[in-house]
Structure formats: C-alpha cells, structure tokens
C-alpha cells in the first residue's frame, strides 16, 4: 500500500476487506478505526467502553493481529483485512467461541463480550491448546465488570476443546 488517494475535500479513500467482503470508505485522517467500523460501516458489534486504550471492548483482528480499534487510526487499516465480531458467525452457524460463551455463561451484560471473543479467537489461532495461565494472559487487555472472569476462562477452554474435536 505505497499510496493512498485523497479526494478534493481532503478525505482519504480506503480499501479494505471487512469480514471477508471488499469495502471502500472515505474517512478524515483523524477518524479512528472504531469510528470507521461503527459509524461508517455500520457494524455496531464492536463496542466503545473506555475510549482510552484500556478496556478492550473495541478489540478486532486486523491482519490477523488483535488490536484495540479505539487506539488505531482508520487509515492504518487501509489495504488490510479486518475481522469484527459480526464476522465470527458463518452460514448461520455460531463460531465455536460464541457457542462456548453461550453454553458456559461467559457473559452477563455482554458489553465486553465482542472484544473478549475476538481476543479468544486470536489466542486459539496461535495456541490451540492453551493452559489456564495462557488464557488469563490472553485476555489481560479485556475488562469485564460482571462475570468475575471465571466463566470466561471456562468458555475459552471449552472453545479450545470444541475446535480440536
């Protein structure tokens, strides 16, 4: 991506793949990635919790790497591949991580859940059989105000089991 086109009014024209689909969007240079996702692409599953890089509710995968989308500019995703929580479900079937969160009470209010699940997906892509310690470390950047985390650890471990089988 050596160059980016700019329209006459100073907007940047981005091209990226979002949940498997090619997408074009116009943004200001200062637009945050989470704003592109929620307000322009109309994918409100990615949440804004703290808006200060702390809580992880806004976590997405960009080029396979988990990221806090409130802490990246939209233009950093130009030419990239983005996965949001909406992209987890395939052909009406829940992703094993979604299924495991539902079955193991991995959520209460659900506000942290999209980010939590993306962090879990990122972990399981790199570590299909994580230890409890690895699960804890993997979601150290995701805050949950409801569950006390125990059921989240269980959900991630259960998802690992489902994906192996």
């Amino acid at each position: 991506m050596p160059s980016v086109s700019t329209s006459a009014n100073g907007l940047l024209q981005l091209q990226l793949t979002v949940n498997g689909k090619a997408v074009r969007a116009e943004v200001e240079p200062r637009t945050l990635l989470v704003e592109l996702i929620r307000d322009i692409l109309d994918l409100p599953g990615t949440h804004i919790g703290c808006d200060t890089s702390f809580c992880g509710a806004c976590t997405v995968l960009l080029n396979g790497r988990s990221a806090k989308s409130c802490t990246l500019l939209a233009v950093q995703a130009d030419g990239g591949e983005l996965l949001t929580v909406e992209g987890l479900e395939r052909d009406g079937k829940l992703h094993p991580v979604q299924q495991a969160f539902a079955e193991n009470h991995g959520l209460q209010c659900g506000f942290c859940t999209p980010g939590m699940m993306i962090s879990a997906v990122h972990l399981l892509e790199h570590e299909p059989k994580p230890s409890e310690q690895q699960i804890r470390k993997a979601i150290a950047g995701n805050c949950c105000r409801c569950t006390g985390y125990q059921n989240i650890f269980r959900s991630v471990a259960a998802a690992a089991g489902m994906m192996k089988g």
Binding site: P2, L12, E28, P29, R30, L32, S53, F54, T71, Q76
Partner: protein, 297 residues
Amino acid sequence: MYPRPFTYHRAASLKDAAATLAELGPEAKLLAGGQSLVPLMKLRLSSPAALIDVGHIQGLNYIRAENGAFRIGALARHTDMAQSAAARHVPILHDCAAGIADVQVRNWGTVVGSIAEADPTGDWAPVLLVLDTEVECLANHGRRSLGLAGFIQDAFTTALRPGEVMQELRVKATERGSGGCYLAFKRCAPVYASASVAVQLALEGATCRQARVALGAVALTPVVATESAKALEGSDLNAKSIARAAEAAAASCEPPCDGRGSTEYKRALIRKLFTQAVNVAARRARGESVEVSHHYA
C-alpha cells in the same frame, strides 16, 4: 474522542519518511504502531499538524543476528521480539517484550517507537541500557549512530535532529556467563510500570565480574545505577552483598510522588525488584533457564 485535524502522508520507505519530515518541519511526526501517539492525540496532549505513516512499509519488522549483534527494525513489534531468536538468546529481552501492556498493544507497538517516545515509564529504555545498544539514525544528508545513553536526553526528548528518523536499534549479543533479568511492578496489565529494574551480570564462579543496573519509572529518564553495579562487581553474590547493592540502587533515584505511589513506596519497590532480578540474572548467568513475570498489584 477526536484528535485535532492533521494532514496524512504515507511513506514508501524510511528514506522517503526522512525527506518528507525535512520538508514538513517540526510540526510533523512519524506514525509507527500508534500505540503511544494515538492515545496522546485523542487526549490532545499531542497535536501534530502532519503525520508521516511508516506503518505500511514492508520488510521493517525484522530482528536479525549479524556480526555479534541483533538488529531491530523500525517496525519490529513487542510481539515479534517476544517470539524472536534474540529473545531466546538474551532472556532479558523476552522479560520486557512479553510484559508490556497486553496482547493488543504488543501486537502493534514497536520497540523503536517506544525508544523514540522516551516515556520515562517505558519499559525498553532500562533494558536496552544494560545491554550495549546503538541507535541508527537516518536523514536526507546521511546516517549516524548514537549510543542509547546519549540518545535519551530528557522525558519525551531524544537526540533526534529535525528531519532525522530512527532506522534501527543494534543490541550487542551477550556472552556466555552473562545473564540478565527485567522486572516491573504494574497495577494491572494495560498500564505503565510504577517502578522497574533491569540487571545484567557476568559471573566468574561465584564472583560477579561485571554488573549493569538500570531503573525505570523513577525519574524523568531511566537511571543507570552505577553505584549499585559497583557494589556487586568483584563481590561474591550473597544476601549481604545483594542487600548493599539494592540499597545503593534505591538511593540512586528520587522517584516522583504521584498516583502510582509515594517516593518511599517506589524506593521500596526498587529494593524488592532489584533483589529478585539479581537472583534470576545470576541463575541465568549460570546457564539455568528461568521464566519470570512482572508483578501486578
């Protein structure tokens, strides 16, 4: 939260970035992973008129061994470092890389960006100061190489000149019989350290032949604790000599009293972290493989 408006420039290479920086002047800034810059811009603590994005340049995330040193490219991320051969060879690099913030931040933040930021509570500076680290700088008119100690001048201030960018860091590989350790105290994962200690030791039998000590988050710049290192050098490593050196480390800084704790509290953290770090460093110097984790409140 919105940053102030700025113009956006995408660099095709670091050379191109340096040329654009020279052209746009001091109101322009480089953007690497954005993990320091974007939060600061959202809070409007930093409002550059222009950003020069180096993040789309291919091939800059290398960490390579060459001529007895590790070359760390401008886009090598904390995660790249944690998984690198360099971090296996020099465990203190792993201690640092794997302990920064959380997975999301480590996936995007770069080692070079962290040194360029010169945040007094950043983790990389104390670690790279106890190793031999050179900063390779690039500008329109050529390159120069600076020792890391001279590169960090003050809080958030480096020796980079107008129009100059950091090309890479070069870290000398450690020898056999040398071992190091980095430990930080953090209130939780996605925050900066309250205090931290980096130690690198060379042993000959039970005797410490050479020691280097640096402290993080306890002054406006990382503190190279020479008195503490001297207290270890030439002595047998035992509870008494380590306690003396820990006291010297605590005395070598005047930590600011702030939301992370009082001056005395942070001195107490330094003593404790130092003692643990020296013990782990000594075991590693003897060839043991030891895994450590930062302390969280």
